[in-house]
Every structure is written in C-alpha cells, then in structure tokens.
Subunit: 142 residues, 2 copies
C-alpha cells in the first residue's frame, strides 16, 4: 500500500464519520473556515483537487463553490499529530463565507472594549451568488 494511503487509513473520523478540516488561504495564510469531511468527501477532494465537504445541515456531499463558484483549489494537505484533524491550504476563488466575506471568521471578539468587530472584507454580495433563498440553496459556509 502507498505511503499516502497508509497515512489516510490512520485518520480518526469521529462517531459521525467526520473529521474537522481547517481551510487556510495559501497566499495570505488567512484562516478561511472550518468544515467537516467524511471519507467520501476527502476522496473527492483528493481526486479532483477541489475541496468537498460533508454538509451536516443538508446531510449530503457538498463541493465548495458548487453554487457560488467560490471553489477552493487544493494546494497542500497536512495531518495533525493525533490524526483527527486536517489542515488544507487552498487558493480561494471569491470568498469562503456564504455571507460574502472572504473568511468565515469575520467577527473579532473585543473583550476589553466589549465590542464585536467586523475584520474581514466583503468580496461578493450573497444575493448575486445564491439569489434570495441562499440559506436554503447553499450550506451556511456556501
């Protein structure tokens, strides 16, 4: 068996068959989102070079950007020490977040000033990508 297959065989999917995946933009090192893969979506990601996840809200395989066009081209994949999470560096087309922000982590909790600050930039208008029913049509991380 190949070394990569050996490594992937060791991955610890949780009791729902999922593993959390941190998505980071390769050009900026900005963390864009955290989503979940099952074995099928990980295989689809490896085969196509585009991220695929398991949508927990819709209960189905989900190619990132399948509606919005905001797909993620896989650059590098890393596995953690416990083999229970992955980090994938990607080239992000458009924005990662269904809200139109570049990153899903667009809100900073400012404890000292008791403020929630918007710190990411909007790169598209959700209604242009998803129409009015964006939340029904597309997973929350679109």
């Amino acid at each position: 068996m190949s070394k990569v297959k050996d490594c992937l065989k060791e991955l610890k999917f949780d009791d729902k068959g999922l593993i959390p995946v941190v998505i980071q933009e390769v050009e900026t090192n900005e963390v864009l989102m955290l989503a979940y893969m099952n074995e099928t979506s990980l295989s689809a990601t490896l085969e196509t070079g585009r991220t695929h996840f398991w949508s927990r809200s819709r209960g189905k395989l989900w190619k990132k950007g399948e509606v919005s066009g905001c797909e993620q081209i896989v650059h590098e994949i890393f596995v953690d020490c416990d083999e229970d999470s992955l980090l994938i560096k990607v080239h992000q087309k458009g924005g990662a977040c269904h809200t139109g922000y570049k990153s899903c982590f667009y809100r900073k909790i400012n404890v000292k000033q008791d403020m929630i600050e918007i710190v990411s930039r909007k790169v598209f208008h959700p209604h242009e990508k998803y129409g009015k029913k964006e939340k029904q049509e597309e997973n929350l991380t679109g």
Copy 2:
C-alpha cells in the same frame, strides 16, 4: 447584557458541549493546532488570557502548557459565521505539539510523490518537558 456576552451566548456547542477552536500563531499566521473548548474552558481562557481546553482523552479541563510550559497567550478571538467554531490567534511559548514540533500539523501529505513530509520544526524534546510518561501525563496536544 454586554455585546461580548451576547455573542458568546449564541455559540453553538455540540452534543458533547464542545466547540472546535483553531489556534494560529499571531506572528507567523502558522496554524498550530485544533482543540476543543467547553463553556468552562472558554471562560477560563477569557479570564486568564491563556488558552484552556477540554481534554477529550482525559475528560478534564486542561490549561495548555500546564506541564510543558508551552502556554498560549491569547491575542485575538474570532467567531465564525455559524457560531460553531472559534479561531484564536496566540503568542505560542515553545511548541504547540506534544511531539516537540512547533505545529501539530507537521506532516504534509504529498499525493503526487506518495510521501508524507515533515514540514514543521522541532522546538523541544518531549522527554525534557514531560519525562518518559508524556502521553499519560499530558494530553496528546500537551
């Protein structure tokens, strides 16, 4: 109620009372680890300015670096669009990984060459921090 408390009240902890937290080094933007917090460890993190997690393997509150000294000083906290994951930028003392590597994501899956590459640097020797029983004494992400 304060704006920060309002925001924290909206956080969606999973059916085990946990929320995944991505830890990123503020100086380098390197992703160091993914761990889990419950409400108690999030409160301890906010109060002390040092990351605390819930150790799933040991079933207890765990201050990062309590044994190794490799603590994480909180710089910024971000919440994602779905309010079901956090990103915390930290100043990392020593290394984040119990294996001695700077990052827990020290292995790159090189599919094309069928190789697993070590891509992070070792910043300490585990036996110097934990002694011989490091895995019993300290959580896997120590």
